[in-house]
């Protein structure tokens, strides 16, 4: 994947979230809570945004919009998102397993 100047490469790792699970049947609430990505300060600066703003996340399977959350325990180049039907739009099977724990994407500022 090649990137433009305002884009960065990220590897997304998904995790389980009990709250999200409990509202999985409430579509709007679920989609809002699921579209959140935690990244480090360095990547936040590269994207030229602050915590709470939205970014576009894309790969060859599609694109999604997610709200950014600053996470000091995050490594640069990695993002964490709750496992959900939102991030699943960008997921695929790599060999026999889905790439829920190593999902390569490009992130950029959300222009809307």
């Amino acid at each position: 994947m090649s990137t433009n100047s305002n884009e960065i490469k990220l590897i997304i790792i998904t995790f389980q979230d009990a709250f999200l699970w409990s509202i999985k049947h409430k579509k709007d609430e679920y989609e809002k809570a699921a579209a959140v990505i935690s990244i480090c300060k360095k990547d936040l600066q590269k994207l030229g945004i602050t915590s709470g703003q939205s970014i576009m996340i894309k790969n060859s399977f599609g694109q999604i919009t997610a709200k950014v959350k600053l996470d000091y325990s995050c490594c640069a180049g990695f993002g964490f998102m709750p496992k959900s039907s939102i991030i699943n739009q960008l997921a695929n099977f790599e060999d026999e397993l889905p790439n829920f724990k190593w999902l390569e994407v490009i992130a950029c500022q959300h222009s809307a």
């Binding site: 009990a18 709250f19 964490f80």
Partner: protein, 406 residues
């Protein structure tokens, strides 16, 4: 008002101390359940959340939908049965019988998660123990697992806080809890010791830990974890999906680490889907394989007979999905392969998958409206009871009807 004690069926902990109050055949109060359990139980009481029996989006009675499902399965040349991890052992047995009768393929979520790990446990090549034994452990390790979210009552009911050696007074506490993960999770925060790995770093870290008895270990954290493992008299290692996915289902490095450490370590998988271990065990007992079983010509199991390959290679021409929601839980890239395939779904709730189904069969909910047995993540058999009455038949009865009609 009547009080019932039930078993929660949301995750593979199968918490057996859930108390519900029932008024006019409706659950009005839930005690002891976690956020996931209570939300599941209350959702089950909302009629608009429950699935109707339908054929091509038109409501029909149970006999008609089962007839239609049987017709589709009988006409199919390559039928696939998928899911079953939320079903009782009795229903899973019927699902396997059905797959056998229609010469189909049967698979579940373990095919791309805990299948290999469960197979090693079932075959005895990985040592394991049950929750009663966990109470005597002096070291608990969560690796790639965050039970505070995946199994919210795990620490309090089955491992750290329920352990006989645990005390609120830290000086009286004779148990340690270690966490290995790529995030500083809620579980890591309450642990005695945690290792923050780089993503994908599990395999090399295990190899380093395995050298625990040797000198000059480069990674201080690996040495410290090795010390914890070797010095404990009884350690239980709870393996989460973080580890399974990080090693790409290659459990050899885990087995190698355990063998080299020469310590008393037992492994329990932190299975997400509640009765996945039950499915693996039931299928293994019937066929010698834990998942991905084809009954076409002879019994076989390989990558070609997996749910993923059957779909992506366009081999399947009819799919029966029981108690599972692949349209929400799986990579969306696979959804296109469902197009033009009749989908028969057995699910008590309206889900993304039921909305794509040609035939929708609505069963009673096991553990709330129907009984049965299930297998917990530690291999223990749990007996479900019911709290409310329903005129719906259960998964086992539905699958039995299908067996009789195909």
């Amino acid at each position: 008002m009547i009080k019932h004690k039930i078993i929660c069926t949301v995750c593979s902990c199968y918490c057996d101390d859930i108390e519900v109050e029932v008024e006019n055949n409706k659950i009005t109060k839930v005690e002891n359940a976690c956020l996931k359990g209570s939300s599941f139980i209350f959702r089950s009481q909302e009629s608009q959340q429950r699935s109707p029996c339908m054929i091509n989006r038109h409501e029909a009675n149970i006999d008609k939908v089962v007839d239609k499902a049987a017709e589709l399965l009988s006409e199919s040349k390559n039928p696939l049965i998928f899911g079953l991890d939320h079903l009782t052992l009795e229903a899973q047995t019927k699902g396997i019988e059905l797959a056998q009768k229609i010469n189909g393929v049967i698979d579940d979520y373990s095919s791309f998660s805990y299948g290999t790990l469960n197979e090693h446990i079932i075959k005895g090549s990985l040592p394991t123990c049950n929750f009663d034994e966990v109470k005597n452990a002096d070291l608990i390790v969560y690796w790639g697992a965050n039970p505070q979210h995946s199994h919210p009552r795990h620490l309090s009911e089955f491992s750290y806080y329920s352990n006989s050696k645990y005390s609120e007074i830290s000086t009286d506490r004779n148990i340690e809890m270690c966490v290995v993960d790529v995030r500083k999770t809620e579980t890591a925060i309450v642990s005695s010791f945690y290792v923050l790995l780089s993503p994908g770093g599990d395999k090399p870290f295990m190899e380093t830990v395995a050298k625990g008895s040797e000198q000059n270990i480069p990674q201080k954290k690996a040495q410290e974890l090795a010390n914890f493992l070797v010095n404990s008299s009884f350690c239980v290692l709870f393996v989460g999906s973080g580890l399974v996915y990080s090693v790409n289902n290659d459990i050899a490095s885990l087995i190698d680490m355990l063998n080299k450490l020469d310590a008393n370590i037992k492994v329990i998988p932190m299975i997400d889907q509640p009765n996945m271990r039950g499915f693996n065990q039931t299928l293994y007992n019937a066929t010698g394989f834990v998942n991905r079983v084809s009954f076409k010509k002879e019994v076989s199991s390989n990558d070609e007979t997996s749910f993923r390959k059957q779909l992506t290679d366009k081999k399947t021409d009819c799919i029966l999905i029981a108690g599972s929601n692949p349209f929400q839980n799986m990579p969306a890239s696979i959804n296109k392969y469902f197009e033009n395939i009749p989908i028969i779904t057995i699910d008590p709730f309206i889900t993304e998958t039921t909305q794509h189904s040609s035939v929708l069969i609505s069963p009673a909910i096991s553990g709330l409206e129907s009984g049965g047995t299930v297998m917990r993540m530690d291999g223990s058999i749990m007996h479900l009871s019911s709290a409310t009455q329903t005129d719906k038949i259960n998964d086992e009865q539905i699958l039995k009807m299908l067996i009789d009609k195909v």
